[in-house]
Symmetry: C2
Subunit: 102 residues, 2 copies
């Protein structure tokens, strides 16, 4: 019943993410996916608030449930290549529900 | 690194979901979660288009990646009790990327 190999949600709502550039992060991820012809396999979705305000821009990748905080557009290429294609999460951006892990 | 036990996304965008009552579905799911005191464990998020237009209101539950189509507010209690709490997906609503499974 797999609809997408990876389903990525970018918070573009709430108190802080929109003011921290989350839409630019979403656009950057989409550009990397589109350029690689992966749009039918990997979905980048805008979403409303994840209730993690202050840690944004926030990104969560399912089905694995890997969370990233303070993501910048410049991180998009690494997230796509290492994690979304290579299945190796980008450790320096990992978030555990309280803050950055590393 | 689990932030939520279940992370539920309801499409409230795109061509069809908003006209089919998806916001009411989101509200109904939130009411069931709130009444049971589960808001910190189970997150019901509004999201933009899942590219499954015509099958809405669409709901996807992660981390398991279970998809539901044509969800109605009246289905919310069963989704919450059977699936989100009981881990038993509601088979009659299951969606596989093309249409209803059953």
């Amino acid at each position: 019943m797999e609809v997408f190999k990876k389903h990525v949600f970018v918070c573009v709502s709430g108190k802080t993410c929109p003011t921290e550039g989350s839409v630019d992060v979403c656009d950057a991820l989409r550009k990397e996916i589109s350029e690689r012809g992966l749009k039918t396999q990997i979905r980048i979705n805008k979403a409303a608030c994840f209730d993690q305000c202050g840690n944004g821009p926030m990104v969560v990748v399912y089905p694995e449930g890997v969370w990233y905080s303070h993501v910048q557009p410049a991180d998009a290429k690494e997230i796509v290549e290492s994690h979304l294609i290579g299945n190796k999460p980008v450790e320096r951006l990992l978030y555990d529900g309280r803050g950055r892990i590393t």
